[in-house]
Amino acid sequence: MNYKHSNVKGPMVAAVILLLVVASLSSTARADESTANTETLERGRYLVTVAGCNDCHTPLTNGPNGPEPDMSRMLSGHPASLVMPQAPALPDGPWTVVVAGTSTAWSGPWGVSFTANLTPDPETGLGKWSFKNFKDTIRTGRHLGRGRPILPPMPIPMYKHFTDADLEAIFTYLKSIPAIENEVPDPIAPAPAL
């Protein structure tokens, strides 16, 4: 296209180009966004898988090959249906922790902790959480960044070093998995009890 000879049409042609460019930018931006979203989600899936989230947040069940994660309850935390009896008292010595066979309830010097429901269920999981809620929780080791302490064995001392980008990827993935309604019990303090 030769712009040198377009005295009158020049601005119009330029305006059309502007529209085309804006449209192109818009669709390019959408494509970029979609690709970025997919990459973020896949990064999150990878991080959740290798960082061991399922080890405690997906109940173990006894299969033909021994204990294995029950992926039908993936990342839904300690099953509400499994009401735990009082943890056995351990004798003095180096054994200090008792773990449920599901790997979702842990009793130790900190009291009893139950692993959280990380699925996007709105009432019992992370459904209503914002990314800020999630990031604040991991960074501070406090529930929602400002409440009670998050208890062992949650590896907050290590996970707090995740980058913002990694935490965003993890949260994006957790928001994408199937929601499972499962009300996890509140943790139990060692003493004094209420």
Partner: protein
């Protein structure tokens, strides 16, 4: 730079293309897209925090001794009407606004403070223990720090970012005092519409509540809403708030104080504007007093609690504090259940007693409540 922006920059750089108005517009699109990326790459500059409190601008140089100093020119003392309970610590508070600036008070529930704003809050048990410091930086962000007073009282030193969980302090409950970490600062100060909690229209209202637990009488020279406004330090303050200073709407003096106590001790996290909005638990007051009271009551009275404790499963059960999770969690210092979750090691017996009295005697529900609401709206 976004790939799309790179594409546009290549396009506009083609030699021989005439530069008309439309092309200029395209170039502007390109620059507009590139600008945020360039801005994001430039780290905002902020000088490091001063190592000593005496270098933060609070005091006239050379005046600090015995845990006190003479406030520098422009440093204003203030005393909120509803104080935060901090294990019985005595407190003093100061505010500094750079010359020629003012607080944007057009939103009476979320004042906006100018760049360069500084606030200090001193905590003591018989002597000054720490002074907390908040500062608004040139890029609009806030930073938080704490300075620990030397036993000699000749200055206070910057605490580490992780705080000091158990500082030995004679006079503090159990002989120990917790210096907050920077994360702890954010827990309360980033929990609402504004990071400045104690300087607000309600907290500095000249119509002060006379029945507040642990109330501190304003000191001579303290600024309040009227003084700040007369001094030209408030911009856009709705005139109605000067004619009728903010006051919590309540059916009784007990309720007024109870709602004020909850506002000051719980509302910085439990409000509708901040990150805990998802809990639908509102204990913060707004200057629209009647609406605010209704909002608080609607979020607690006969509402199921996410946290069940000691047989109670309701946030507040009118007439029965023992069946009210809100009151029970104020009493306990079980670290997994206590409220507030940080900043206290012993329960505020006087504050909890006020809340229990309010729940037991003042809260009404059903027909009576509706009738009273209608009366208020009239």
């Amino acid at each position: 730079m976004p790939p799309a922006a790179r594409f546009v920059l290549r396009f506009v750089a083609v030699p021989g293309v005439a530069a008309g108005k439309a092309m200029a517009a395209i170039a502007m699109v390109a620059l507009a897209m590139a600008a945020p990326a360039m801005a994001a790459e430039a780290a905002p500059y902020a000088p490091p925090l001063p190592e000593r409190l005496s270098d933060t601008g609070l005091y006239i140089a050379g005046t600090v001794s015995a845990g006190a100093g003479e406030p520098a020119p422009g440093v204003l003392a203030y005393t909120p009407q509803y104080p935060l309970w901090s294990d019985g610590a005595a407190k003093q508070r100061w505010l500094y606004l750079p010359p020629g600036t003012a607080i944007d008070a057009s939103n009476p529930d979320a004042w906006q403070f100018p760049v360069g704003t500084k606030l200090w809050k001193e905590f003591g048990h018989g002597r000054a223990i720490e002074t907390r410091y908040i500062e608004r930086l040139a890029d609009g962000t806030w930073r938080f720090a704490s300075y620990v007073w030397r036993e000699s009282g000749d200055d206070a030193d910057l605490a580490a970012a992780e705080g000091v969980p158990h500082l030995p302090v004679a006079g503090a409950p159990g002989g120990r005092y917790g210096i907050p970490s920077r994360d702890d600062c954010l827990a309360c100060h980033e929990g609402g519409a504004t990071p400045v909690i104690g300087v607000s229209a309600l907290q500095l209202s000249p119509d002060r509540d006379p029945n507040v637990p642990h109330a501190e009488a304003p000191r001579p020279g303290d600024v309040d809403l009227a003084v700040l406004n007369e001094s030209g330090l408030l911009a856009g303050l709705p005139g109605a708030l000067l004619d009728t200073p903010p006051k919590i709407a309540a059916v009784s003096a007990t309720e007024r104080s109870a709602l004020g106590y909850l506002h000051a001790n719980c509302g910085h996290c439990h409000n509708a504007a901040g990150p805990l909005g998802l809990l639908d638990l509102v204990l913060a007051q707004r200057v629209d007093a009647a609406a605010s009271r209704a909002e608080v009551l609607a979020s607690i009275v006969e509402r199921p609690s996410d946290f069940e404790t000691a047989g109670a499963a309701t946030r507040v059960t009118p007439g029965n504090p023992q069946a009210s999770v809100l009151a029970l969690r104020m009493h306990t210092r079980n670290p997994l259940a206590q409220m507030p979750p940080l900043g206290t090691s012993i329960a505020d017996v006087e504050g909890a007693a006020l809340i229990e009295q309010w729940i037991r005697e003042d809260l009404i529900t059903g027909e009576e409540y509706l009738h009273e609401l209608q009366a208020q709206q009239r």
